[in-house]
Subunit: 330 residues, 6 copies
Amino acid sequence: MLTDSLKAHWPVRRLPDVAHLDAGSSGWGFFLCTRKELRTGRSGAPYLHVVLQDRSGTVAGRLLEDVDRFKDEFEVGEFVRAQGRADRHNQRVEMVLESIRRINPDQDRAEGFREADYVRAAPRPADEMWQELQRLTAGIENQDVRRIVEAIVTKYEDRLRVWPAAVTVHHDYRSGLLEHLLQVADVCARLADVYGADKSYLVAGAILHDIGKVEELDYELATSYSLEGNLLGHITIGVRMVNEAAAGLGDVPRDVVARLAHLILSHHGTRDHGSPVEPMTAEAFILSAADDLDATLHQVRRHVSEGSGDSRFTAYHSRLGRVLLKPSGR
Amino acid sequence: MLTDSLKAHWPVRRLPDVAHLDAGSSGWGFFLCTRKELRTGRSGAPYLHVVLQDRSGTVAGRLLEDVDRFKDEFEVGEFVRAQGRADRHNQRVEMVLESIRRINPDQDRAEGFREADYVRAAPRPADEMWQELQRLTAGIENQDVRRIVEAIVTKYEDRLRVWPAAVTVHHDYRSGLLEHLLQVADVCARLADVYGADKSYLVAGAILHDIGKVEELDYELATSYSLEGNLLGHITIGVRMVNEAAAGLGDVPRDVVARLAHLILSHHGTRDHGSPVEPMTAEAFILSAADDLDATLHQVRRHVSEGSGDSRFTAYHSRLGRVLLKPSGR
Amino acid sequence: MLTDSLKAHWPVRRLPDVAHLDAGSSGWGFFLCTRKELRTGRSGAPYLHVVLQDRSGTVAGRLLEDVDRFKDEFEVGEFVRAQGRADRHNQRVEMVLESIRRINPDQDRAEGFREADYVRAAPRPADEMWQELQRLTAGIENQDVRRIVEAIVTKYEDRLRVWPAAVTVHHDYRSGLLEHLLQVADVCARLADVYGADKSYLVAGAILHDIGKVEELDYELATSYSLEGNLLGHITIGVRMVNEAAAGLGDVPRDVVARLAHLILSHHGTRDHGSPVEPMTAEAFILSAADDLDATLHQVRRHVSEGSGDSRFTAYHSRLGRVLLKPSGR
Amino acid sequence: MLTDSLKAHWPVRRLPDVAHLDAGSSGWGFFLCTRKELRTGRSGAPYLHVVLQDRSGTVAGRLLEDVDRFKDEFEVGEFVRAQGRADRHNQRVEMVLESIRRINPDQDRAEGFREADYVRAAPRPADEMWQELQRLTAGIENQDVRRIVEAIVTKYEDRLRVWPAAVTVHHDYRSGLLEHLLQVADVCARLADVYGADKSYLVAGAILHDIGKVEELDYELATSYSLEGNLLGHITIGVRMVNEAAAGLGDVPRDVVARLAHLILSHHGTRDHGSPVEPMTAEAFILSAADDLDATLHQVRRHVSEGSGDSRFTAYHSRLGRVLLKPSGR
Amino acid sequence: MLTDSLKAHWPVRRLPDVAHLDAGSSGWGFFLCTRKELRTGRSGAPYLHVVLQDRSGTVAGRLLEDVDRFKDEFEVGEFVRAQGRADRHNQRVEMVLESIRRINPDQDRAEGFREADYVRAAPRPADEMWQELQRLTAGIENQDVRRIVEAIVTKYEDRLRVWPAAVTVHHDYRSGLLEHLLQVADVCARLADVYGADKSYLVAGAILHDIGKVEELDYELATSYSLEGNLLGHITIGVRMVNEAAAGLGDVPRDVVARLAHLILSHHGTRDHGSPVEPMTAEAFILSAADDLDATLHQVRRHVSEGSGDSRFTAYHSRLGRVLLKPSGR
Amino acid sequence: MLTDSLKAHWPVRRLPDVAHLDAGSSGWGFFLCTRKELRTGRSGAPYLHVVLQDRSGTVAGRLLEDVDRFKDEFEVGEFVRAQGRADRHNQRVEMVLESIRRINPDQDRAEGFREADYVRAAPRPADEMWQELQRLTAGIENQDVRRIVEAIVTKYEDRLRVWPAAVTVHHDYRSGLLEHLLQVADVCARLADVYGADKSYLVAGAILHDIGKVEELDYELATSYSLEGNLLGHITIGVRMVNEAAAGLGDVPRDVVARLAHLILSHHGTRDHGSPVEPMTAEAFILSAADDLDATLHQVRRHVSEGSGDSRFTAYHSRLGRVLLKPSGR
């Protein structure tokens, strides 16, 4: 139970953003609620478990008192105003909530509420990234290749602008897919220069390698796998999009289609990682290396940026299977 | 050099079929020539290396004398009449050839030459297998599933009737693909009964799981990988065929297409074996087990049947990584 | 603490069976108690942790109040009458118990208590399965093989009728071993027809492959590993049983014993999965595939049947390493 | 909350040592506090989480009441007097603490407090082990080898006397490194006799194989990885120490240095276990086997000794991936 | 063809033993012929391929001329007198033979022929090793354990005295099994002292761990796998021998039998290496490590001793996957 | 035997370079002889086996006649003039030699002999590459890092200019190490821009990652492993060079040394590939990816360039485990 003496310590100031919450932070803030469950505590009493999010990250919260009153004041997927205190539990920061309710736009905008602040998204604006993608596509020299890329990018523009690249792991936020493919394309273009590889195929491969994710994943404010995503996977869906684009254009040589499809199919590098065929061209080797490196570095940087404390090393990263050295001077 | 005394020992009787050649066999026979190379022996002298085939198997041969005369008397891919003696070299039977020339149909038919005897093929007649496939297809209860299978089977009938299932390993001969898919369908239908699985999808999956092989492989009298076969693989090609058939029919629910594609994609059982997604339905688990068992047993039986000698065990099978027990009483 | 207002909401109706419990279910029921521990809650107060079971499944329960009174009212392994409310905790249903006591047979039978309803068991009656096993055994053509199987099956009848096939994973309930071996024998007999394999050995191998489990596992109402089970494993125990049966019969050819033992030894398919030798006969390959498929499909069906909610896919199955597609229309 | 009636049950007798604590033990004891955290319970109330240690083991404890009063009465790394009751939670024994404060040496020595009783350490006295190491080193026949070992052992004497061999897993306590290297040297010397291997190199390798750990690990009363420990690892650090010692001596043949470095580099046996080169001499094979066996047996014995209960087998050992048979008669 | 001028260079002196043959060695010697095949050379001419052996090793030989005359002068498995010249072919020494015939005992003994010189055997006399085994067995303290070992060792004495430990790899010669088990027992006894393990079980395990090899392998002058060897493997055969010995004694506690069987079953260390169960006792871990080390060091020493040339390193050892450093000064 | 009629066909024109030899090429040429062995043919006659090399590649040759005369006319490691004819044997081109003798510089220079033409070397001139390395080093911003790189590069200049990067696999020719490190540095610098990584460390890591190879390998005109190369490996040697350079400079912070050493240690990416520690910084991940990609692409390009024939795909590349698609239009 939250004692009155504790409550008395909660000033009603504004909470810092989620990334800066720490044990002792208290006050109120605006968030997107991405999970809401009525649970029973070990003591048998019900409480509300929620996950709250802003652009900087996510935090779990528990509302222990007046559950009946607050449980109908908001739904999952809504923006909320919540008040409470942050604690550290098993080395993770959690919120103990005093109150929570959905946003009242008129009133809350006055206090600075702006939807975009509570949706995790790529650091660069989607419009800017979209224009870069347009330029990249237009710059593909091989006409057959460019026409296929243009057809696909145009068809899926709405999704490409906002889709995440994954449910978790890396680039798992609004426009993360676009951010990832531009980064991979940038790396591929530079490596094409070093190794004299075919830049048309490499840039096209970079743009299209994960394109199947716009159908593999369902994304509204949360991300999940679609039926076809689970049963087929983004690699197979991406190849189907290339086949359909080529069929729509009508006159693309089969070799061009096969080489593009090969880049998509082999971009995980090995069968073990889900590529049914493995790289057979210099371009495929480069694309696969660039994709793997970009995904890995995204995890490295996030893990480093999320760490806290004075240690020179981060906490153990279970997916990478090691601790990481924090960059000095950052 | 072949001494005259040796030649004198060669009677001009008919050779046994390839499977029954052994050291000491001598005489003449008809064959399909599937390889022909001019090589240089360790002594510096040129010789002809050939591979000869009849329905029962293949044998390598060397023609050491009169190379200049015989080397233009036939080409690879032609039926030939060859004369010589069999020897055992490093435990393998090889032919030392005295003469070789292409078939003269008019004259050689009189001696019993018949093309079909020299092409390795499935044990059952293609027509009989084709009719069984027709019956199987017609018996698929789920209408959407049946229409897709019919469309594909009809479109690729010419190839399906004669295609091998592989370059090597198993069912690597004329109509081997048809033989394999019927066997897998038989197993799947029986297992569907035991486990109450969806027989429409299971039989369709059995028929279509390797359908991409009709484009993955090029087959005339020899078998090799096509450009798309190498770059995409039969799994991805097979899924494309399902997508095209569904597009052609126009009104097939996406779920049906996804479930059929899932059966094709997952039929190798694990990513490690080249399936980009792994079985997620009872039907996919059954199909994958049936396919694997059929391919394994084909290798087991061939290896057992090809072995010779009195030992209770076969020679080491390098792909399976073990020796096999010969069935007693066979 | 359970507040009085909450208690007031608990009607004293009969609880649904375990498989149908969900958050909000409340009332009383009969169960088998398979675990009972006195634990200390985070708050420092002791509580009773129990696991309750009926034929449809198992559920954990906590009794938080009057612990001293109830803790001597029943023991693990006894049938009990318990009353309380179901909650959902971390996505699992749990019971918060109000009271629990051992069955009073005279009185409780009047309310419908019947032991068999609270022991998880194979779906088919043991007697029916036992008769099927008798028929199967009698139908083995090879006399030497049949006599060994008969000797073993007769000797271990008592255990074979009731033993589970595993502590967890698959067929882990009363008569689960009998259910599993009959299913595997059914599959093996069908595959023997398809592949012309030796049905005597295949059916015998199916019956005997897991026979060592009757000594590997101790089973009363709970299942655990015996000393020999841990130190030797069921494969080695099963081979010992074949050796003993052959010694008892006196005149069985060594080859027959060796071939039967080979089927048991190799039925896990690879050394990696615990088979000290790997399949060397068509029969051994078939048995190993049938056993693996049966165990896998048992897990698939259980996982699908236990899932709830509207999603087309189940929750992640950690042993299989994937989600599963729920069959449509079921 | 701890009720008064419960408190009344706590006699103020002396607690048994940590290894003998079980549910129901209560009283007071001296400990080393190796962890101290202010946490928030599920109910929202703060509590102190501590880890207490004596020579026999470690136990977690929670202080739930009067947190404000006790939280400043001691710090992590200090010796403390604590009073409370042991419970079993999820099969592990934990303490619920009533009070805790730092040692008052004058007063507490009277009750038998002695620092050494609360620091986990190797079973043999460090001095005795150090003298054994001196004898071992002096007994190395090959002069070049002996001089390198002497130089290193002398330089790092302070650390060698007290360092643990690991953060966890095996020999993870005061002087554990010394204990481990003497044991490995003992085994190596005996195996050198059996196999006629070069005892100078083998004993030197045994002494030096883990020497890098004195810089890989930081150790005060707790153990952790140093910056160089993480970035380089003890194998590379150990090779550097050999290089530096050889450079200091000036006239050691390069071959000797290379063979010693090879023993250190290859002592994990395979690249997979972190050895950049694998054993290439009989001595390197023996050292690697001896090191592995010693580390494994240390885990086996600890796990067996820590187990309780009547079962013939221990609980599952997750690192070894199995249960262990308890020695009979112990 | 062997020219006359070459023949003239062959003096008729005695050849060195096989281990010392090198390009240029010529003369005659006595051997055991362990392989004899009539092959056809690349030039079409038949030649005799033989493998000749003395205690120091084996060498392949080719007889190119007068094949008809010599081919009936000896059979495989006979001792022979052969004359010829050694050459180096693909870095291996081979013999080009001039003549070969079976031994004429009366006449050839005069020239020093003695059967034992041409059979590869363990370096120590079998009688001496047998007596050591007797002493070892008699010294086992645990009576039940000793009686089982005595029963088995007595029953299989004839084979134990002469059996090889393997077809190839290590200890693959007369009495190699006895040599190996004594060595492993020696190591185990020493490690039992270091680790306070149960010496009765350890020594018994060392003696019995490979006992199944006396039935797994057929051995006359050559070694091959028996039917049961292939189908069951020596581990399972060894356990059967323990079971039979215990049944014969009648009153051995089941625990003793199970612990001995566990040592045999787990001595390959991991399932991956063919142990159906993995070590669960300190004794099993020690036995498995000792067996592995002994087998590895046998390969290391043989490879080092067989190498020639000035290099500090041996040729690549394909089974160990590396080159080995030659001991200096040897 | 080489018949006179064949010899008559050999015109005495100049042979093409090795890369352009094909069956039928005949004439004379200059080469470096990198292997020379006296072997015995299957027929029993001795012949000379040689390997001849020019900048474009290597070719094996056999001299079958007048062996006694020619065998003393040249030694391995000398430049030679050889005459003969090329044949294709088992799909590889080999030379049948008529004559071979060492170069007579005075006379042969007149015919165009120039040493550099017969040594395989990197495509760019060593001087040009060396200057690029100097510029790269000078451009490292972090002073401590730059001083270490300068010290090492300066110390090993002689070797760095000419050393190969490997015995086989990739960059296995004169100045191949320099070519490889510049390429990797180029890639790393570009990726540092994309990912905002620390360019000083990345470029230094690229220059130093394989520096240990100048002592791991012995290189004159052939390449082989040194004693330390085998026992320690280039990774450990490279770290020692960094330690020595830092010790020589005296005032480099330990952190800088540790971070540089970490880049070298982790550059194989995983322990499995020989890195005792795995990447823990963004720079280490990038370096490891760049190194792996450069080595792979070198193999890809060589394999593609060495292939011949009309096929769209290369022959199977056993190290990469696949065929490769030839770039179209090349």
